[in-house]
C-alpha cells in the first residue's frame, strides 16, 4: 500500500530528523530546547518585511528574510544571557515575543490586505512535500528532499568539525573558553545553524514537526546512553523510527502525517522514560525494590 510518495515522505522526515537531532542534542544539554520554538515566532517580521519590499509571500527571499530574523532572535538571546542580569530562559522569552509582536504590528499597519497567514507564508506541511518539485540535473525532484538532504549533510559536517568545542563548552564552558577552544564561537555557530535549519525546515515540513525533531529524539536518546557520541546516533535512530512508525500510523488511520510522527516521537520518549536500562522510572523502581 505504500507508494513512491510514501517512501519520499518518510525519507524527507528522516533526513530532517537527522539534522534536527544532531543540533537538538546539544540544545537539550545546553538547556536551550525552546530555541527552535522561539525562532518559529521570531521569523514573522522577516516574512512581513520581505512581503513589503517585494510583494512575495513564499519565495527564496521569504526564507532569507525569515532566517535573518531567526538569527537576530538568537543573537539577542545570546547577548541578554551573557549580561547575566536575566536568566537564560527569561532571555529567550523576552526576545521572541518582541519580534513576533513586531511582525503582528507590521501586518496590521502595512499588510492587512495581503492575507499573510503563517501557514501560507512559510509553514509547509510534509504531506504535500512530494508535490512541490524543482529541477535538478534534468530530473524533477521534490524541493523538500533536496533541502533536507543538504541540511542533513551540512549539519553532519558541522557537528564533526565543531565536535570538540561544542562538547567541551556544553559540558564545561569556562574550561572550553580558557583552553583556547573558542567555545563561545562554537556556541554561536550552533545557534545560527539552529535558526537557519529551523526556517528552512518550517518551509519544507511545518513548524510542529521541526520543534518535535529538535527536542524529542535528543531527550529520548539522553535517557538511553551515557556518552555524547552514542547519544547523537541514538537520537538520529529515534527520529527515523518515529518518521517510519508515524507515517505508517497516518496511513492506517488515514490522518495527519505530522501529527502521527509527532505522536510517535512522544510515545518513543515515554517508553524510554519508563524502561531505559539505567535511568528509566520502572527500572529504577525495580532496582530500589530488589
Amino acid at each position: 500500500m505504500s507508494t513512491a510518495d510514501d517512501v519520499l515522505i518518510v525519507v524527507i522526515a528522516g533526513l530532517l530528523s537527522t539534522a534536527c537531532a544532531l543540533l537538538g542534542s546539544f540544545l537539550v544539554l545546553r538547556r536551550q530546547a525552546l530555541l527552535p520554538d522561539a525562532v518559529s515566532h521570531a521569523v514573522l517580521p522577516g516574512i512581513v518585511l520581505v512581503f513589503l519590499l517585494t510583494g512575495q509571500r513564499a519565495s527564496l527571499f521569504t526564507v532569507l528574510g525569515a532566517t535573518a530574523f531567526g538569527v537576530l532572535c538568537v543573537a539577542g538571546f545570546e547577548w541578554l544571557r551573557r549580561t547575566r542580569i536575566v536568566g537564560s530562559d527569561a532571555a529567550l522569552a523576552l526576545v521572541f515575543p518582541a519580534l513576533f509582536s513586531l511582525g503582528i504590528l507590521g501586518i496590521g499597519e502595512f499588510a492587512s490586505g495581503a492575507h499573510i497567514d503563517l501557514d501560507s507564508a512559510i509553514y509547509g506541511d510534509i504531506t504535500f512535500a512530494p508535490l512541490r518539485t524543482m529541477e535538478l540535473g534534468g530530473l524533477e525532484v521534490p524541493t523538500s528532499l533536496v533541502v533536507t538532504g543538504i541540511a542533513a549533510v551540512v549539519i553532519g559536517v558541522l557537528v564533526v568539525l565543531l565536535w570538540r568545542p561544542l562538547q567541551a563548552s556544553t559540558f564545561d564552558p569556562d574550561f572550553a573558553e580558557l583552553g583556547g577552544l573558542r567555545g563561545r564561537l562554537a556556541g554561536r555557530i550552533l545557534l545560527v545553524a539552529v535558526a537557519g535549519l529551523a526556517v528552512v525546515a518550517f518551509d519544507s515540513v511545518g513548524a510542529i514537526l521541526v520543534i518535535t525533531f529538535f527536542v524529542v529524539p535528543a531527550a529520548t536518546a539522553r535517557l538511553l546512553t551515557g556518552r555524547m557520541s552514542t547519544m547523537l546516533v541514538v537520537a538520529v535512530a529515534v527520529g527515523w523510527a518515529a518518521s517510519l512508525g508515524g507515517h505508517q500510523a497516518a496511513l492506517t488511520f488515514d490522518t495527519s502525517i505530522p501529527g502521527t510522527i509527532g505522536l510517535a516521537s512522544g510515545i518513543l520518549f515515554v517508553l524510554a522514560l519508563l524502561c531505559a536500562p539505567r535511568r528509566g522510572l520502572l527500572t529504577r523502581r525495580r532496582r530500589a525494590r530488589g
Binding site: 544539554l29 545546553r30 551573557r82 549580561t83 547575566r84 542580569i85 568539525l161 565543531l162 565536535w163 570538540r164 568545542p165 562538547q167 567541551a168 556544553t170 559540558f171 564545561d172 564552558p173 569556562d174 574550561f175 573558553e177 580558557l178 583552553g179 583556547g180 577552544l181 573558542r182 539522553r222 546512553t225 551515557g226 556518552r227 555524547m228 552514542t230 547519544m231
Partner: protein, 251 residues
C-alpha cells in the same frame, strides 16, 4: 608547607595591577594589585562575596568588563592558554552531560590539539598516567553523573594533570569532597609545586590554608593581606576581612 626553595627570579603565578571586575552587574573587585608567587601552593581566601572566584575568573578572562592588567607566569593570557589549567566550581559544570570519566580527562589534551587534530598515543599515555595519579583509573568508563563528589573532583584534577599545565587554578576544589580525598588531592597539588608548577586555589577552610599552603591572599573586595599564611591569617586581618565582607554584602 612544602619547604621548597623558591627561585625569586621566577615570574609570579598571577600578577594583577589595578584590576576591577563586576559580576552580574555588581562591582565585586575594586582596583586590586596582587602578586601570587610562582612554584608554590597558594590560596585565595575571604568571606562570601569577597570576590575570590571573580578574581581568578577575571585573571583567566572568564568574567567580562575587567579593567586593569593581568599577567600569568609573566605573560598575557592569550600567549599561554594551553599552559594554564582550570578546575571550575562544580556547579558551573553540566552535571547531566553524557560523558565518561576518561573522556573528561582527555579534554585536558584538547588545548594542545585544538578542534581537529587527533589525540596521539602520547596523549593517551598522559591521560592514563593522570588518572592513575589521582586513583581513578578504575572509573575510566563510568559516566560522570554516576560518580560521587570526591570521585568527580579527582577526575577534574586528572584533567588538569593531563594538560601538563605550568599553572593550575582551582575554584573551591574541596566543596562536597570527603576529608580523605581532600588530603589526597592536596598531596598531588603539593607534588606539582615541588616539580616547579604553580597552583592557585580559591578556598574557604582557613585551617587547611594555614597547615598545607605556602601562600595566602586574603580578599574582601580588595586585598586585605597577602603572604605566608601564618602572617596573613591573623586575628586582626580576619576581623578586617570578614567584618568588611559583611558591609560589602549589605551594600
Amino acid at each position: 608547607m612544602t619547604g621548597v626553595v623558591v627561585d625569586e627570579r621566577r615570574p609570579p603565578a598571577l600578577a594583577l595591577r589595578g584590576v576591577s571586575a563586576s559580576y552580574g552587574g555588581r562591582a565585586v573587585l575594586e582596583d586590586v594589585d596582587l602578586d601570587i608567587p610562582g612554584g608554590r601552593l597558594s590560596a585565595v581566601v575571604g568571606p562570601n562575596g569577597a570576590g575570590k572566584s571573580t578574581l581568578v575568573k577575571a585573571a583567566l578572562g572568564l568574567v567580562p568588563a575587567v579593567r586593569g592588567e593581568v599577567r600569568l607566569l609573566g605573560e598575557p593570557l592569550r600567549r599561554i592558554r594551553s599552559r594554564v589549567a582550570y578546575v571550575p566550581q562544580q556547579d558551573t559544570v553540566a552535571r547531566d552531560f553524557p560523558i565518561t570519566a576518561v573522556q573528561v580527562v582527555e579534554m585536558g589534551r584538547y588545548p594542545h590539539r585544538g578542534w581537529l587534530r587527533r589525540l596521539t598515543r602520547h596523549d593517551d599515555e598522559l591521560v592514563a598516567a593522570a588518572m592513575a595519579q589521582v586513583g581513578v583509573e578504575a572509573l575510566a568508563d563510568q559516566p560522570i553523573d554516576e560518580l560521587s563528589g570526591g570521585q568527580r573532583q579527582r577526575v577534574f584534577l586528572a584533567r588538569a594533570l593531563a594538560q601538563q599545565a605550568d599553572l593550575v587554578i582551582l575554584d573551591e576544589p574541596f566543596t562536597a569532597v570527603d576529608a580523605r580525598t581532600e588530603s589526597a588531592l592536596l598531596e598531588v597539588l603539593t607534588g606539582l609545586c615541588e616539580r616547579g608548577r604553580s597552583v592557585v586555589a580559591v578556598h574557604h577552610d582557613l585551617r587547611t590554608v594555614r597547615d598545607r599552603f605556602d601562600h595566602a591572599a586574603l580578599l574582601a573586595g580588595r586585598v586585605v593581606a597577602a603572604g605566608p599564611p601564618r602572617e596573613v591569617l591573623t586575628a586582626g586581618n580576619l576581623e578586617r576581612a570578614y567584618g568588611l565582607g559583611l558591609l560589602v554584602e549589605r551594600t
